[in-house]
Symmetry: C2
């Protein structure tokens, strides 16, 4: 079991950080997140100890997750490369998201908070928040974008199984929600849901928000993923050559790849993050200051972005529907240490179906882009160790695969 998180901010110089966060207003965050979390968010310490209760919860939900060699996929693709898959799909809640949700809920409970109030799109963040809240003794209320609420019924039920109160947003429970509804905005958006959450937290004393992506502290808490991989590779005397993961906001990729970039450095031949050609943040976006929020609220951050007003098209990998990528991941892409590759949905989903048929693993649609990148690398390279991150399982996304079968 990993005992410390790697603080992703410590991988940059003070100067680099100041440039990235020139317009950031940390004070604003203090209203919505536990004080200890904000301390981690601004800390420059290299290592942050993981509290024993968080380690216990990590074990309970299935950490460490397996790093599995995909022998049959290698054989099917006739490759001499060795494919290692980090299986975050095996976690109880179905994705890596619990890894950062648990410490956020834990620090909230330690600081006397009684409830988590959070927003969710397709539901993965909400499911993780619901479970994390329950496991740390907090109540949980989730504002879920109504269009998803009506479409992703099983994720709603899963949040309710974990005891959360799930509200379709815009709702009539907040002023913001009532205003959106009055404007005829029934379907909602993640920005609307966030407005409802922030309003309620500001009013309800003792509540915190659980951030699902983008923030450095989320990446830092997720470094357990990459640190486990290093331990697993080392114990089998394996040196990785090629590292692959997908990027939506960048929190799974940051938690997975940044510890590897730090530990193996230039011994890594390629570090690849994958995305959809429909939302090509890192392959076609601009590196500059932009809002993280889809409505232009909050601080501007230095990152790759398609523009805060970019309206992502509908797609099955809803976790990749975000206009920007986390500042520190963006930094490493801009430095040329991490490269980005975009794939077409049809090609990606077909590769995920090959994974299912060869290894029995049903990947989240988000991870299908990663599987496709592995396949592409297998055509270009020989005899490499390829290490790839599977962010979640696709059992509740089986309908997404329906059209590709």
């Amino acid at each position: 079991m990993i005992n410390q998180w790697l603080n992703v901010r410590s991988l940059l110089t003070e100067e680099q950080l100041q440039k990235i966060y020139k317009y950031e207003e940390v004070e604003e965050y203090r209203k919505y997140h536990p004080a200890q979390v904000i301390e981690h968010a601004v800390s420059m310490e290299r290592w942050i100890g993981i509290p024993e209760p968080v380690k216990q919860s990590y074990r309970m939900v299935g950490r460490q997750t397996p790093l599995q060699r995909a022998y049959r996929l290698e054989k099917a693709w006739g490759t001499t490369n060795r494919i290692y898959i980090k299986r975050e799909d095996t976690l109880s809640n179905g994705s890596f998201k619990i890894t950062s949700a648990l410490p956020q809920a834990y620090y909230g409970s330690v600081e006397g908070k009684t409830a988590v109030i959070t927003e969710t799109g397709a539901g993965q963040t909400g499911v993780a928040a619901a479970l994390a809240a329950k496991l740390t003794g907090l109540n949980c209320k989730v504002y879920m974008v109504r269009s998803s609420y009506e479409l992703k019924k099983l994720r709603v039920l899963m949040m309710k199984m974990y005891g959360a109160d799930v509200i379709a947003s815009p709702s009539d429970q907040t002023e913001a929600g009532r205003a959106f509804l009055a404007r005829g905005e029934r379907n909602g958006s993640i920005a609307f849901a966030t407005s409802e959450v922030l309003e309620e937290i500001a009013q309800a004393n003792g509540s915190i928000n659980i951030a699902g992506s983008l923030f450095d502290f989320v990446l830092t808490y997720n470094t357990v993923i990459g640190l486990e991989v290093i331990e697993q590779l080392t114990s089998h005397n394996i040196e990785p050559d090629i590292v692959i993961g997908c990027v939506g906001g960048g929190s799974s990729f940051g938690g997975f790849a940044l510890p590897l970039v730090d530990y193996y450095g230039e011994r890594l031949e390629r570090v690849i993050c994958t995305e959809s050609t429909a939302i090509p943040t890192l392959t076609k976006g601009e590196y500059g200051y932009d809002y993280a929020d889809g409505e232009g609220g909050g601080s501007k951050l230095l990152m790759y972005s398609l523009g805060y007003d970019f309206r992502p098209p509908a797609m099955h990998a809803s976790g990749l529907r975000y206009h920007a990528a986390a500042p520190i991941v963006s930094h490493f892409v801009n430095q040329g240490i991490i490269e980005a590759q975009a794939f077409d949905e049809t090609e990606a989903m077909a590769s995920a179906i090959e994974l299912a048929r060869n290894e029995g693993i049903i990947a989240s649609p988000e991870s299908s882009y990663t599987i496709n990148a592995i396949k592409k690398m297998c055509r270009q390279y020989e005899n490499r160790n390829i290490v790839a991150l599977l962010t979640g399982n696709g059992q509740l996304d089986l309908e997404s695969y329906g059209g590709f079968l």
Copy 2:
């Protein structure tokens, strides 16, 4: 990794077996199952070696599965007992069923068979057969009871993800199916689907059926579950006191509990199998000779049964909707070594929701009866080691939980 299966027939005397199988016609089975499987079915050898390729496939799908202490559930129930849960829900296909499907498919492939043709009700057997076939290089066709086919869309998609051809039964692909349809029997039943499967196997050379339950060889292949538990308990110096699992046909329970009964013998205080009060096979059924088949086909076996013409009511735990229980499990119940407890669905589902909220584990509706029995034992006992089997995960059954939330 376990190297040998425990042959469940070897736990009985020749005399006991002859009595149980007085009317059994083994020759009939040879038409539908690999020769090696039939050899195991009639063998009296105590141990059967697990072939290396089967062990590799077991690893690939997630064996060994964890045995997890449920600390938070213990705390929630204020009990001094220690609860250990064997987590078959963590397998790639979502349930224990793959454990017996893999060797059946493997022996078929070794004997030159090219396809698996199998029947399924709610889909768990079909999903396991589809994956087992794919992992051993066989084609797979599943006849699925039409009423389930229309209801359990995600399980249909999962079989298709694994490359299976899924047919709603009765179908127009077999004479039997066409006859059922002509009689206006559109919804189908597991007996109808079996008729279609057997007809097609009899005609299509090179096909085998994958049995999902009831047969001794299925229980024998599933003993990996119980043998893993013994290894896991022993490595932590734990002696079990109370053993609990659910019984539909009895194949998960047999594979889990019989190795424990054999190894710990009278040191076990209680061995409990759970069922639904709606289908009280072991608590209210008769011990006598009856047909395994719901239409009165095949051989009569000595077992607990509600009568082959018993028509089980609709219920969420569709894996428990069977009129009888495997002969060897029935034998141990009849001897008083295993006891049966029946619970009401509402009570059982409520206990499963408590499991989800305390441990983050979403259990199959079948396992909810087991969780409820653990709860009951926690009220009656102090300071015991309770070891219970969770047969599968309930992510694709979340709608079943909907009404109880």
